[in-house]
């Protein structure tokens, strides 16, 4: 498929090992790929626990070895710094910006830690169909 230069938005609904955080949106931009997440604190931890994202987190397209590295994290701390919650009822919206994925139909994974635990923010098989995207106005 021919490369595009516009930014396209996709609403997705994917979860990691512990159903949390939810991956809500993917924006395939010409410069970066952005993933938006929502995390809801649970009563498993006193005061809701904490979240963080490993700076080594990357995206990888199925069938390809190339890793698209994390460039920026907004609304979440990068490890070893932790974003600590104050209660079990807290919540957090955050965005991760990666090197730009190709603007075409694809299936990709987000890997925080290879062969990690359900506590790691690993997401598999995120499917993007170019025709389902909506152009973002600048």
């Amino acid at each position: 498929m021919k490369n595009q230069t516009k930014d396209l938005l996709f609403h997705v609904n994917a979860v990691s090992g512990k159903d949390n955080p939810s991956l809500l949106r993917v924006i395939l931009g010409a410069q970066t790929t952005r993933l938006d997440f929502g995390y809801v604190a649970t009563s498993y931890y006193i005061k809701g626990g904490w979240i963080t994202i490993a700076p080594e987190t990357y995206l990888q397209i199925k069938g390809d070895t190339k890793k698209y590295q994390l460039l920026d994290a907004i609304g979440i701390s990068q490890a070893p710094v932790k974003l600590k919650f104050k209660s079990t009822k807290d919540f957090q919206f955050f965005s991760l910006h990666f090197e730009a994925l190709p603007q075409t139909d694809l299936i990709f994974d987000m890997i925080e830690k290879l062969n990690g635990t359900p506590n790691d923010f690993n997401y598999y098989g995120i499917a993007i169909k170019w025709k389902d995207g909506v152009e973002v106005l600048g």
Partner: protein, 329 residues
């Protein structure tokens, strides 16, 4: 070329001297002194000379000011005694009215609306201070209104107004306090509504297939989308809001007669501060009253009743009395 602010300030001073019938024919030195004195600047002779020439130019560069140097009186004058720059024929009452209005706006806090409006208001307030010789900082010292801190999500106000005005669909992430879950929403927005200093965005939600409203505080990362704006019925929502106190109608309930039996104390407040245009008060001999509304029952109305506590003795219809009672449990 547009007139810059500093030049405009000098024009205003020059204009005021030329119109002063008590001291006609101001000299060049008097014009310079007045500008220096009133504007706390160090104006030079050639600046005022250029200002006078500029003022004589036709709009938009100048004001077509009929300025004439009277050699006999050795001073300047307007050949048209009725001329004013800007040609605003403001009476003293008009000026006082503008002062009070601006003081009120300043007191409310223009920043509460949005940054762009705030900047615009600051310009107006600065200008009025110059034109009306009123110190900006004292404009609202005698007025105090509720100016709550900026709430979460309010930073999107300008984007939301643009989206409503230009019919631009939005994508955003919404967090439901009640369900405790995030979701991505595509909304075709048409209305911003404020109630009790809480702000809501109304529009057609693709996810819900219906018109919904979302609190600004629960909206994250709104993005404008390049897609066709859906056609849907806005009128039903507008009608409901017109006949509601609040923004959360009780599901399944239509506009109906709601009656409250209230104490004499609370009657005073309902008389002074009606909460809805349909409100009618049937006052009893002891000062208590039956307050009747033709209204869509809402969560906010029930909460208001609870807030009045034992001062509201009876509520009808019964289902609404029960609903209100359960709300307090």
């Amino acid at each position: 070329m547009p007139i810059n602010k500093n030049a405009y300030q000098r024009y205003v001073v020059i204009d005021s001297l030329l119109r002063n019938k008590m001291r006609p024919y101001p000299t060049m030195q008097e014009l310079i002194a007045a500008c220096n004195d009133r504007l706390s600047i160090n104006t030079k002779l050639n600046t005022i000379q250029k200002d006078i020439e500029k003022m004589k130019l036709p709009p938009p560069d100048g004001f077509n000011a009929p300025i004439y140097y009277d050699r006999y009186h050795r001073g300047y004058k307007y050949t048209d005694p009725d001329f004013k720059i800007g040609n605003l024929d403001l009476t003293d009452a008009d000026i006082e009215s503008i002062r009070e209005s601006l003081a009120l706006v300043q007191s409310i806090g223009a920043g509460r609306i949005d940054e762009k409006f705030s900047h615009a208001m600051q310009k107006v307030l600065a200008t009025v201070a110059e034109v009306f010789d009123q110190p900006e900082k004292n404009a609202a010292s005698y007025l105090q209104t509720m100016s709550p801190p900026v709430s979460r999500g309010f930073s999107h106000f300008e984007l939301f107004t643009k989206a409503c005005r230009e019919q631009i669909p939005l994508s955003f992430v919404h967090y439901s306090y009640r369900k405790r879950e995030f979701s991505a929403v595509v909304l075709h927005p048409f209305l911003i509504k404020e109630f009790d200093n809480r702000w809501y965005l109304y529009g057609y939600s693709e996810k819900h297939g219906a018109v919904r409203h979302f609190g600004f505080d629960r909206i994250y990362s709104p993005i404008c989308l390049k897609k066709a704006f859906s056609k849907f019925d806005k009128q039903a929502t507008l009608d409901t809001l017109e006949h509601s106190y609040g923004v959360f109608p009780i599901p399944g309930q239509k506009k109906q007669r709601i009656a409250l039996e209230v104490s004499s104390l609370i009657t005073h407040y309902f008389e002074a501060y009606p909460i809805h245009h349909s409100q009618q008060i049937k006052k009893h001999a002891n000062g208590a009253a039956t307050i009747v509304f033709d209204i869509v029952p809402t969560l906010e109305l029930a909460r208001l009743i609870l807030w009045h506590g034992y001062h509201v003795a009876q509520i009808s219809p019964k289902w609404f009395a029960q609903f209100t009672k359960e709300l307090s449990a």
